[in-house]
Symmetry: C2
Subunit: 236 residues, 2 copies
DNA sequence: GAATCCTGCATACCGAAGGTACGTACCCAA
DNA sequence: TTGGGTACGTACCTTCGGTATGCAGGATTC
């Protein structure tokens, strides 16, 4: 579709740079970059990574591939930018939810609610949960995760497990956080893929609360290690 | 690379079909189909789905694309065949591990061990965990999962939770199984991505055993619902 | 056992899509 | 005003999934 005339409308310049703050040119550039990420996020969410062509993205952003390859190294780099933004947004939302809650357990429950809400968002499901590991590769996926949503879970787990009187080594806490993160992801998945999210959320809260209260009772009782497999622990 | 002469070696025909059992032709056909799945599994595991070209697959199987498209509808269908085989193998391995163990908790622990071993296999990590959801799409991914590895987890959870005296509705059990499956997947992931799998496996057993024993203590005590969020349950 | 049928491939080709090389307009500084 | 470099646009290349078609040779029928 040759539509080469009137190739770009006027983007909204956030502020008026008087002398040498942000130049006019830089503002335009940032705007088109944002537009590319916006359109990419939308199309990736709707159609998936493989089924979204760069042509459709640049068409949606009303630029050409030259612009895209000026701002990003390639399709994967563009996806990574989208991925980071979704993750950062999600992490901020969770952090807001757990901030100010005094009790560690209250934090945990608030965090659970926030996480359940986020994981139901189509963009999070598609871009982070579904396509993230495949497109970015497992290594980069975990790296990115580590710095955003997962970090919140670590803090929650740390707060909860620190309530007990026993000392906990960092490695063990990381392990616990990782596993609990998997628990939460699956929990969110149940809700998100359910035909009745409300009812499913009730069941999920029950199940997770079940596991949590089980841990809580152990922490309160001052139990240090599960008796179930005490024999296999002495090698540390 | 034109290498059209001597295009195929003699495949091993399993049995001699005397009258109308399995014809010679059909044996050849099944052999080339298996060869395609074999090579595809190997290349998908090593390079991932997107980075593996059909040309390299058919070259590895010493056939052409004509053969591939005769046996499979396309690249995705070939992946699905590989996926199914990996899942079925894994499910069988787990089932062997938990068979014959009398106690429900012994079954759970044996199943955990088997699952941890499987999820460390490169082919399972890459094909099922990493690329499965993206390539097959979430719907088909869960469908396939439902019939194989996940089914074992459901049985284990059912056995464990039936140990209590309380009755449990099916929906709640499914929810619990899904969440616990997520827990196990994350647990396996920790081990698989660790630089010291042996030590990581110890920590994982401790953490999962922790959660299990927490549940166990509640089941033994006859607790029906966690007190933590009793107020949000009465809507069922 | 000869003619026929049909399966099981091979060959050649097409179009889409990611990526690249190069040209250019225009903002900014001097 | 002029040089320079950023921020794109344009044209093209290559790879790869998919398709249409041809054909050989084992199976079937008589």
């Amino acid at each position: 579709m040759p539509k080469s005339s009137v190739s770009k409308l006027v983007p909204k310049v956030p502020k008026v740079p008087s002398v040498t703050g942000t130049s006019r040119r830089a503002a335009y550039s940032a705007s088109t970059k944002r537009a590319l990420v916006d359109v990419a996020e939308e199309l990736f969410t709707e159609q998936g990574y493989a089924n979204t062509s760069l042509d459709s993205i640049v068409a949606g952003a009303r630029v050409t591939k030259g612009a895209l390859y000026h701002h990003f190294a390639g399709k994967q780099a563009l996806f990574e930018a989208v991925f980071e933004r979704v993750e950062n947004d999600s992490a901020r939302t969770i952090q807001k939810a757990i901030k100010g809650k005094g009790d560690a357990w209250q934090k945990a429950l608030s965090g659970l609610e926030a996480f359940l809400a986020i994981v139901q968002e189509p963009r999070y499901r598609r871009i982070v949960t579904q396509e993230g590991p495949s497109v970015l590769g497992y290594e980069r996926f975990r790296e990115q995760e580590e710095r955003s949503t997962y970090a919140n879970v670590v803090e929650i787990v740390r707060a909860v497990l620190s309530a007990g009187t026993w000392e906990l080594e960092e490695e063990m806490l990381q392990t616990f956080a990782r596993i609990f993160f998997g628990t939460l992801s699956a929990a969110g998945d149940v809700v998100a893929s359910s035909e009745e999210p409300e009812i499913a959320a009730l069941r999920v809260r029950t199940a997770v609360g079940f596991m949590l209260s089980g841990i809580q009772s152990l922490v309160d009782a001052g139990v240090e290690l599960p008796e179930v497999l005490t024999e296999s622990i002495d090698a540390d």
